[in-house]
């Protein structure tokens, strides 16, 4: 009897140690998309209500992007020389990071905005892809380039033509918007992005344009 007992225990523990604790290799599931109002459940199960601060009107840059070390891109960005510029008085300068060449914040009456200057090799997918990336960060749907023209206007930055991008969510006046510039320069593309409360963006437009006009590569 006892021998049987210990053999059973031996067998069970050996089986347990042989078990693969890995989860299922392919998983299929559905999520409802935000539609501007409260997220709803779709009829199929299992469905999770979509509540993701990176897709809903954003309050800030996805924090994981500022915490992760990005070995390849860090090296690429580090090789690009930082230009000179004049910082508007209302902006507080923060220490640059491995990716952010310029890092500022501003605020008034409880509203805040963040201004970043980044640069990457190549065109990072092109104008349409980059504007749509910014649109998606504030919960707007992507659009073809022809429809994006209303959000774009040409400006000059250090003698080079750049695109000034104006993205405000008309359905969310108290929410987050983006204004900035995409500046192709040689074999790189520079991104100056101000993201924050839309009312503050309106107030800060002159400071943003002043900053852009002061950039000297």
């Amino acid at each position: 009897m006892k021998a049987l007992l210990f053999t059973a225990i031996l067998a069970i523990t050996m089986i347990l140690t042989g078990c693969d604790s890995g989860s299922e290799e392919i998983r299929v599931y559905q999520l409802s998309k935000p539609d501007g109002s409260a997220p709803t459940q779709a009829p199929q199960a299992p469905v999770a209500p979509f509540a993701d601060s990176a897709r809903a009107p954003a309050t800030s840059v996805n924090p994981s992007s500022s915490m992760n070390a990005l070995p390849g891109m860090e090296a690429a960005a580090a090789q690009i020389e930082t230009p000179e510029w004049s910082v508007p008085e209302a902006w507080d300068e923060l220490p640059p990071t491995s990716i952010r060449k310029g890092n500022f914040k501003t605020g008034s009456a409880g509203r805040t905005a963040e201004i970043t200057v980044t640069a990457f090799p190549g065109d990072v997918g092109g104008l349409e892809a980059n504007v749509n990336r910014w649109r998606q960060q504030i919960g707007l749907d992507p659009l073809p380039l022809a429809s994006l023209q209303q959000n774009l206007r040409e400006i000059e930055v250090d003698g080079q033509t750049a695109q000034y991008v104006d993205l405000m969510d008309p359905n969310n006046a108290g929410g987050i918007g983006i204004r900035g510039a995409i500046i192709p320069r040689g074999s790189h593309t520079w991104f100056v992005k101000m993201v924050g409360d839309q009312a503050l963006l309106v107030q800060q437009e002159q400071d943003l344009l002043f900053f852009l006009s002061s950039v000297n590569f």
Partner: protein
Amino acid sequence: MAKRVLLFFTSLKLTVVLLGFSMALVFFGTLDQVNFGIHETQKRYFESILVFWNPLPPHSDSPFANIGLPLPGGYLLGPLLLINLVVAQSYRFRWSWKKSGILMIHVGIVLLIISEFVTDFFAVERQMWIDEGGTKNWSESYLENEIAIIDQTDPTLETVYAINSDKLRSGDWIEDERLPFRILVEKYYPNARIRRTGPEENIPPQASQGVAAGSGFIADWAQETFVDNEINADTAIVRLYDGEEDLGTWMISNLFDGDRFPAQQLKVGDRTYEIKLRFKRTYYPFSVTLVDFTHKRYPGTEIPKDFSSRVVVTNPAEGVERESLIYMNHPLRFEGHTFYQASFANQDTSSMLQVVRNPGWTLPYISVTMVGVGLLVQFGIGLSRSKTVRSPKRKGVAA
């Protein structure tokens, strides 16, 4: 024969040998943690049958790099200790109230060993980053990655096809009737350095579509890192097929996050898909809103005193809305998950919660309590017996 096997497994000498090996395993595992970090060391030493310890650093070119001191791993020692303890107790133990403390101690230790296996097999740890004022209903792994194909066609619904990436090898086919297309993994890098080709370099592009094609990126193999604060840039070059139609090659990497890089989209028939490689996600039926993150410092210094997250957890299906303050040593337990305050960023406006699901979380508490009570009981019995023996006034007791 059976008798000899039984005597072997009930032997106290076996217990001493196994405990000796356990101490050696902990010692050498602690030494190797410098090279491999906590997670890799846990896998190599405690979630294995056999491990070889080598004093040389990992990826060393030395001819001695492949020779090591063999040690039984945790999955060999643990079951043997469990068998030894259970079999010895059932074979030798003669029940009496005077030995009840010993029984409790042994049951507590058995429970502790079992709890370790339960944690290994069933516990899941994830990270959840939330901005102040933001809400999240998903968390992600910091070690495991997945290929995610997202059907974006429907304006109200996304269908996600997620494939674990940890078992991928270059040349693998991923084919499953549930997937919208077939995937050939042309190249897979557990860690990669992604860069743009220089003007003098004559390297053919690795991808014909997507971000890498548009920006001239190539991925070079890089040594896997085990350092705790570094991530491995999980990267793959995949060729997609809709039936026999070649949809081109795409570079997907967990470095291509949505903030810096546009989504990689492709149209297959009348459907639009996005393909990406990202940290493995877990979605929940509830959501967590970060109301406020507080970071207190000792006055006049930058030395952190404490940090805490005030959150509201909502489960609309259950009609639950619960506010809670999460801070160090004060996690939130909700629907089988435990939320710990782990980190913060963005000038104290973003908080990271570590989300742990461990169905066996109570077992260590129960086992330690049983061992503690068992010790008290056994010492108490021994104490009362020795008092009885010493007292000359008691009748019928030998001096």
